[in-house]
Amino acid sequence: MSISEVVQRARAAFNSGKARPLQFRIQQLEGLRRMIREREKDLVGALTADLHKNEWNAYYEEIVYVLEEIDYVIQKLPEWAADEPVEKTPQTQQDEPYIHSEPLGVVLVIGAWNYPFSLTIQPMVGAIAAGNAVLIKPSELSENTASLLAAVIPQYLDKDLYAVICGGIPETTEVLKERFDHILCTGSTAVGKIVMVAAAKHLTPVTLGLGGKNPCYVDKDCDLDIACRRIAWGKFMNSGQTCVGPDYILCDPSIQNQIVEKLKKSLKEFYGEDAKKSRDYGRIINCQHFQRIMGLMEGQKVAHGGAGDAATRYIAPTILMDVDPQSQVMQEEVFGPIMPIVCVRGLEEAIQFINQREKALALYVFSLNDKVIKKMIAETSSGGVTANDIMVHSTVHSLPYGGVGSSGMGSYRGWESFKTFSHRRSCLVRPLLNEESLKARYPPSPAKMPRH
């Protein structure tokens, strides 16, 4: 089937109305849940092949969040899908004003390669819950996961409403010519722009989960042991290939050495003496990214790590010290296991540094001083914030997940997903009576303007 035919089939299936009953949607979500449970081994196998994830990383970093989302959404769906009455005005006391949630139609989800399962399926959960037909285009870079999804999804979900389209740039370009009712894309800023330009031709609304350089400010007044362990965990997970990972550290020169030491200590705890031998340490997705990341180390002061093996696309957990803000490693999102440390003298300078740059997807601040944290948050912007830890804000259901500025637009997860993939339609149902109270609005108008 051509891409166009797949899209038409999904649209026809949507128009048939079969995705509207809540029972159907819940049944499909249960099917998805069954798929994950029954095919867990295959899933882990695919993630291992793509990114050297083991059963634990795959589960803890991807699978569990999708299962949580499915459970949460199934539980909440009846409440979310119900009409929501709103506040009346004195003039509308006898009316019924409410918001009616309805599906948009055919949704396109473009997945990313770094968490190829959760970043494709988690949005899909929301789109299904909202009653849409859904097409997913997993990233071709994580090819094993893409093939697996293409194979298993039709085995568990309605084949017409939900389809997987695989392929690279030509296929994605082809898909983007079609008309959708919403597009959610996770990827780079460059891809985000391409998607939005294509969407504009059909006036399709978009949700873009992009990236940026997520700053991580470490205050002098801080428990460095704990801070560094948490930072190391978040940074080197998936070999640094995480949209919300801490991209670089900002700290006072006086604590730089300590930070380096403590990061090293945590790395040893996590991955042993030689991370290459650890089952828990990931690999770079492909050669192109491997070369790119290795290049970022050029001319830098390597405090730890620095080694790379092209054959296995392994890059050692690496820390750079005294990094010059103008250097290459500070010009692009690192998206790899290199942690540059940039020295700043105090909170003010850190805030200024951050504000001179594009708004990031996440901001991290470590301090024992609540005032420091509050000031950092108040004087900067970013998609989201976690203070004194890494990434956790992106795992809480009740917090929307999304960027701002060049790190993205729109958000999803839980109730946000449901809203993103629904049209929240304003309805005002009045009685056909009460003509008296409306008489004032009809012409002819009084001869003079009343005093007011």
Binding site: N15, E55, W56, Y59, Y60, V64, L67, E68, V86, E87, K88, T89, Q91, E96, P97, H100, E102, M196, V197, A200, K201, L203, P205, L210, A227, R229, R230, F270, Y271, G272, R279, D280, Y281, L368, D370, I377, V385, N388, D389, V392, H393, V396, S398, L399, P400, V404, M409, G410, H423, R425, S426, C427, L428, V429, R430, L432, R441, P443, S445, M449
Partner: protein, 485 residues
């Protein structure tokens, strides 16, 4: 223009627009402007649309004043951080969503309600703490000029600017980077705006149009229905984004509808409609000619009179309209009401669904079940049942389109949210590291099992249980580390 945009951005960067007191002060100044310069504002609208002052006041100024008052009242509540529900792993942390300004907002206004469609979004953008550039429509030139004169006299001149001009200036303006763009207008330009915004990854709110259908059921008080439809249709000479564009009804009702609408029109505008101070004119010659051409070959049940010199088109109704004809191919945006006969509500639904999603849908019926059924089986920006236009008037309802009638919404809190970034914040402490131990490498099969246990359990009963489970988690983590399980 470059300098102007940079000046506005620098003003935003200064942080001046962030404190709530500043925003309130600006909103109050805006209100003062509307109250003190009411005459000038009404005169401008009147000049642009041949509208009576009273109508200009009731159609535009009232909504603006209402919106300002609402913002002033609600600002402290809306701008405050909203606590978020936490899960097992974060229950001892502080989780909240903090609204913050986006930066520099661009508002591109429309000509049909040139004041409210430019100022109402401005109110929301100011309330949310942004700097704003307003680009009023050049077609309603008197209002555009008046806004350019008045706004700098009352509002902070660096944070809020008016840039006037036509297609060329707008194209130039759209090359610049904004943090949000709200555009009101047609789909063609909407696409241009979105494409320009895409180059900077600027989110957009597009308030577009479409052919808003009006279904009239046989089970209906036609007197009341027709009066309401006539009111909404012929207001502003049909130049309203949410005017009922065309009527769908059973063939048997057509004649009655025509008669009752005729009666309503007479009630409203008298025998000599041209003399009525309440009946407006078409905005310009181009639109006048466009609407005129829609009448070609149609069965005019009443109306049809026109006068090019004054751009007058009489309230007009067409019957037995062929869905394939020109008048059914584009948004009319004029005082011409086609009636398309359909055999049933089902056929009406099919008819509506074969077309682009409109900005509004109207349903007239005493049968509430039918109304709900029609709502369920169609889509549109918004709906009013048994009246027209009114869903626009409630600030508790989001106002916006869907599909080709637009994206995003505003009014009231929806304005505030549209022009804010809702930033999720999770504040943890540097203590209680024990609870985190399960997540760190090196992994072990037992860690996975425990992770599954904790993360997938559904906890609906009480905080104490959560606390006990957290403690258990810490204990387990310690035991795992010590090699006991």
């Amino acid at each position: 223009m470059e300098r102007e945009v940079q000046r506005v951005r620098a003003a935003f960067r200064s942080g001046r627009s962030r404190p709530l007191t500043f925003r309130r002060q600006q909103l109050k100044a805006l209100r003062r402007m509307v109250q003190e310069r009411e005459k000038d504002i009404l005169a401008a609208i009147t000049a642009d649309l041949s509208k009576s002052e009273l109508n200009a006041y009731s159609q535009e100024v009232i909504s603006v004043l209402g919106e300002i008052d609402l913002m002033l009242e609600k600002l402290p509540e809306w701008a405050a951080a909203t606590p978020a529900r936490k899960n097992l792993l974060t229950m001892l942390d502080e989780a909240y969503i903090q609204p913050e300004p986006l930066g520099v907002v661009l508002i591109i206004g429309a000509w049909n309600y040139p004041f409210v469609l430019t100022i109402q979004p401005l109110i929301g953008a100011i309330a949310a703490g942004n700097a704003v550039i307003v680009k009023p429509s050049e077609i309603s030139e008197n209002t555009a000029t008046t806004l350019a004169e008045l706004l700098p006299q009352y509002l902070d001149q660096d944070l809020y600017a008016v840039i006037n001009g036509g297609v060329e200036e707008t194209t130039e303006l759209l090359k610049h980077r904004f943090d949000h763009i709200l555009y009101t207008g047609n789909a063609t330009v909407g696409k241009i705006v979105m494409e320009a915004a895409a180059k900077h990854l600027t989110p957009v709110t597009l308030e577009l149009g479409g052919k808003s259908p009006c279904y009239v059921d046989r089970d209906c008080d036609l007197d009341v229905a027709c009066r309401r439809i006539a009111w909404g249709k012929y207001m502003n000479c049909g130049q309203t984004c949410i005017a009922p564009d065309y009527v769908l009804c059973e063939p048997a009702l057509q004649d009655q509808i025509v008669q009752k609408m005729k009666d309503a029109v007479k009630e409203f505008y008298g025998e000599n409609i041209k003399e009525s101070p309440d009946y407006e004119r078409i905005i310009n010659l181009r639109h006048f000619k466009r609407i005129l051409s829609l009448l070609e070959g149609q069965k005019v049940a009443f109306g049809g009179e026109t006068d090019e010199a004054t751009r007058y088109i009489a309230p007009t109704i067409l019957t037995d309209v062929d869905p394939g004809s020109k008048v059914m191919q584009e948004e009319i945006f004029g005082p011409v009401l086609p009636i398309v006969p359909v055999k049933s509500a089902e056929e009406a639904v099919r008819f509506i669904n074969e077309r682009e999603k409109p900005l509004a849908l109207y349903i007239f019926s005493q049968d509430n079940k039918l109304t709900k059924w029609l709502i369920d089986h169609t889509s549109s920006g918004g709906v009013t049942g048994n009246d027209v236009i009114m869903h626009f008037m409630l600030s508790s309802l989001p106002f916006g389109g869907v599909g080709s009638s637009g994206m995003g919404a505003y009014h009231g809190k929806y304005s505030f949210d549209t022009f804010s970034h809702q930033r999720p914040c999770l504040l943890k402490s540097l203590k209680r590291e024990g609870a985190n131990k399960l997540r760190y490498p090196p992994n072990s099969p037992s860690k996975v099992d425990w992770a599954k246990f904790f993360l997938l359990r559904r906890f609906s009963r009480g905080k104490l249980r959560l606390l006990l489970l957290t403690l258990l988690g810490v204990l387990v983590a310690v035991l795992i580390k010590a090699g006991h399980c």
